[in-house]
């Protein structure tokens, strides 16, 4: 599922799940349910090698080859092959078969090292797919093209959580903050991009990672780019300020006007929640992947909302709100409870 959360968002590629058809079904069903929360109805192109009992007994490599022939015939620009628990357990040599196809034709066939639960967690599969797709960083052939002269910095967002409900809202917030510095996002690696667009990756001037709890995505970035890295989307008001300063610092820009504009923006947000001052919340940290004391301190400092066991229980967002706008959206929801 983690791997699909990357590969299924390469628009001109197909993802082939090498396993029983049920594996593709369960992933697609959960995928679809999640995407509907984002009002996305188009389903990505996911294929299955539909391994049968026969394949499990005698090996699934023939089923994989047959499926790859059919996948290639669809005319994608790349095929991502994702093994499953079953194909990993029986020991199908997926990597060799993918290499054969890549060597024999013009079409890259890339294996993602994410074999169901044998491949680790959702995040492991997610990172593995980002690694696999990085083969396109220097162009589809793998050879780096010379960087073109540009009059604007290439800013790349890396590892957006494509299945989170607020993925577009979070992106909008990053775009808004970058816009204050006169910047725009050039590449979203990987969200709704083509194989060809990924070649821009190695030309990035700044890489902004959505979230990198264990540092693996930053390490991956260093393999295809020497550009500076910001290793997480900003959280809350202070986080937004720090983000603007970091981006400006990385690109040698003056952040003065941007910080002033953000100050005004945040002042309006703080004023709009004046009615919440003095209230207490009870908070269960479950759900926050990166719950930080900084966020709670900020709520108290700017909004006068304190954390207390006797406070009003509030709904917990799954991830920490992104930027000043994310905080505003969260507080609007809390207001109904407070």
């Amino acid at each position: 599922m983690g791997a699909l959360a990357v590969t299924a968002f390469v628009r001109d590629a197909v993802t082939l799940i090498h396993g029983p058809s049920g594996c593709a079904h369960l992933n697609a069903t959960l995928f679809q349910t999640t995407l509907m929360h984002q009002d996305r109805f188009a389903l990505p192109e996911i294929l299955s090698s539909s391994m049968s009992e026969q394949d499990v007994i005698f090996g699934g490599e023939d089923a994989l080859r047959t499926s790859l022939d059919e996948a290639v015939a669809l005319g994608p620009d790349a095929v991502f092959v994702v093994p499953t628990c079953v194909s990993e357990t029986i020991g199908d040599d997926v990597e060799t078969i993918c290499s054969e196809y890549s060597c024999n034709g013009d079409l890259p066939v890339v294996m993602v090292r994410a074999g169901g639960f044998l491949g680790g967690t959702f995040h492991d599969g997610f990172v593995a797919a980002l690694e696999a797709a990085a083969v396109f960083a220097g162009g589809a052939t793998g050879a780096s093209e010379p960087a073109r002269q540009r009059d604007y910095p290439v800013i790349t967002i890396v590892g957006e959580k494509n299945l989170e409900s607020e993925v577009e809202e979070n992106y909008d917030e990053i775009s808004r903050l970058l816009g204050l510095l006169g910047l725009t996002v050039s590449l979203r690696y990987v969200r709704d991009i083509t194989v060809g667009e990924m070649s821009l990756l190695s030309e990035s001037d700044l890489l902004i990672i959505r979230d990198d709890p264990d540092g693996r995505i930053e390490e991956l970035c260093s393999s295809f780019s020497a550009a500076p890295v910001i290793s997480g989307f900003p959280e809350g008001l202070k986080g937004s300020f720090a983000f603007l300063q970091s981006v400006a610092g990385c690109l040698g820009l003056d952040a003065g006007d941007a910080l002033a504009a953000e100050t005004d923006y945040q002042a309006a947000i703080i004023a709009s929640f004046d009615d919440l001052k003095g209230l207490s919340i009870a908070f269960d940290s479950f759900g926050f992947q990166n719950a930080t004391d900084m966020l709670f301190a900020e709520l108290e400092e700017y909004f006068g909302i304190t954390l207390a066991a006797s406070g009003t229980p509030i709904p917990v967002p799954f991830t920490t709100p992104v930027g000043s706008t994310g905080l505003r959206l969260m507080l609007r929801e809390w207001r109904r409870f407070l």
Binding site: M1, L16, G19, P20, S21, G22, C23, A24, H25, L26, N27, A28, T29, L30, Q32, T33, M36, F41, A42, L43, E45, I46, L47, S48, S49, S50, M51, S52, E53, D55, V56, A63, T66, S67, E70, A71, L74, C85, V86, T89, I90, G116, F117, L118, G120
Partner: protein
């Protein structure tokens, strides 16, 4: 226009399979019995999906790579021991990898516990469902005399209409003064031991094989035939009220459909469902709305070769039905087309009410949803 029907496509790469695998059917069948504790021996990925699909309490081992290397027994034992006191019976269901590992759990499973392999590579949901019912029946090893009355079959909690179907079947049987015997799957497991000789199905896609099936309650004509037959088996049954209701129901459906047809052309319809539900919907739409079924694909074709997402998408790109009856997959493929959900999976929240598809109430409910959807009044 000739109907575009995909029931047999020989291809590995049809895209995503639109029907769940055996493990979902097996879990659903076992979890239907209130006194059975279901332990799913599977990874968190499979478990997460099954918990989404089956609205019942399921206990999972959440296997990791470590268990694949060193064996799943220790983890399974831990889960079984923690829940066995809560249930009369324990059923362990192995997904693909534990089924491949073929471990022997007999030294720690409680007496009477059943362990069933239901790997996805061995079949689909219907296969798993039947496999589990067979295992439960052989465990019960029928020793009692059959109960009086009729078993209600075809109850599968993955089918969001299952609770409504059960209520409707119970209501109709009560009206006919015929007692209800075993539910499959439903009630308690011991009722399988004294199931009646006769069975009525509310959804033949999930046939347990218990008793002799005397027909189904899907569709007006099927229902009439089934109760006519039961009236011969149960001389004390009173089916006259039921036939009155049948006639009144048909009158309502005819009247409302005629009202629609006075203002609109008959709809062109795409149906994507199990054979049972597709047949039922086809009959209702053709008989009362003069509808033309311009495309269809079955989730459980007799050939076993089920059209996948890719094939269905191509079908819907080629045809332009006015109305689609199917699952959220078809709804997502043609979001602008009027849609009535009758097939798993359905978007969460789309079927909250326990509405039936079977019986007279089911026929009325389906007709109402179709007409409302076609006229844009809901």
């Amino acid at each position: 226009m000739e109907a575009f029907s995909l029931t047999s496509q020989k291809s590995h790469c049809q895209g995503v399979d639109l029907w769940p695998c055996a493990v979902t059917g097996a879990v659903s069948a076992a979890a239907g019995f209130s006194d059975v504790g279901v332990v799913l021996n599977a990874s968190s990925g499979c478990s997460y999906y099954v918990e989404y699909a089956v609205p019942a309490t399921i206990h999972c081992t959440y296997l990791t790579e470590e268990e694949v290397v060193f064996g799943t027994a220790s983890r399974l034992r831990e889960v079984v021991e923690s829940v066995s006191s809560l249930y009369e019976s324990i059923v362990v269901i192995n997904s693909c990898v534990p089924a491949l590992m073929a471990e022997d759990y007999s030294d720690f499973l409680p007496e009477g516990a059943i362990c069933v392999d239901a790997p996805g590579y061995c079949g689909d949901m219907s296969t798993g469902y039947r496999q589990m019912i067979d295992a439960l029946c052989s465990r019960e090893n029928r020793t009692c005399e059959p109960a009086e009355g009729v078993n209600i079959d075809g109850l599968c909690s993955v089918d969001r209409f299952s609770p409504g179907n059960l209520t409707e079947a119970q209501r109709l049987l009560a009206m006919a003064e015929i007692p209800v015997a075993a539910l499959c799957s439903g009630g308690t497991l011991d009722t399988l031991n004294r199931a009646a000789d006769y069975t009525l199905s509310v959804n033949p896609a999930f046939a347990s094989g218990i008793g002799t099936e005397r027909g189904s309650l899907l569709g007006m004509s099927a229902m009439e035939a089934a109760f006519s037959d039961l009236a011969r088996q149960f001389p004390d049954a009173n089916v006259s009220l039921l036939f009155d209701e049948y006639a009144a129901t048909e009158e309502i459906i005819i009247k409302e459909c005629d009202r629609y047809l006075r203002r609109h052309d008959p709809p062109a319809v795409g149906i994507f469902a199990t054979t049972a539900y597709a047949g039922y919907a086809t009959e209702l739409l053709s008989e009362y709305l003069d509808a033309e079924i311009i495309c269809s694909a079955l989730r459980d074709p007799a050939s076993g070769e089920r059209p996948g997402l890719r094939a269905v998408r191509e079908m819907l790109n080629q045809e332009t039905p006015d109305l689609i009856l199917g699952s959220s997959f078809e709804q997502a493929m043609a979001p602008e087309t009027s849609f009535v959900g009758i097939t798993f999976p359905l978007r969460s929240g789309s079927v909250i009410q326990h509405r039936p598809l079977c019986g007279t109430e089911g026929a009325l409910a389906l007709t109402e949803r179709i007409l409302h959807t076609l006229t844009g009044t809901h």
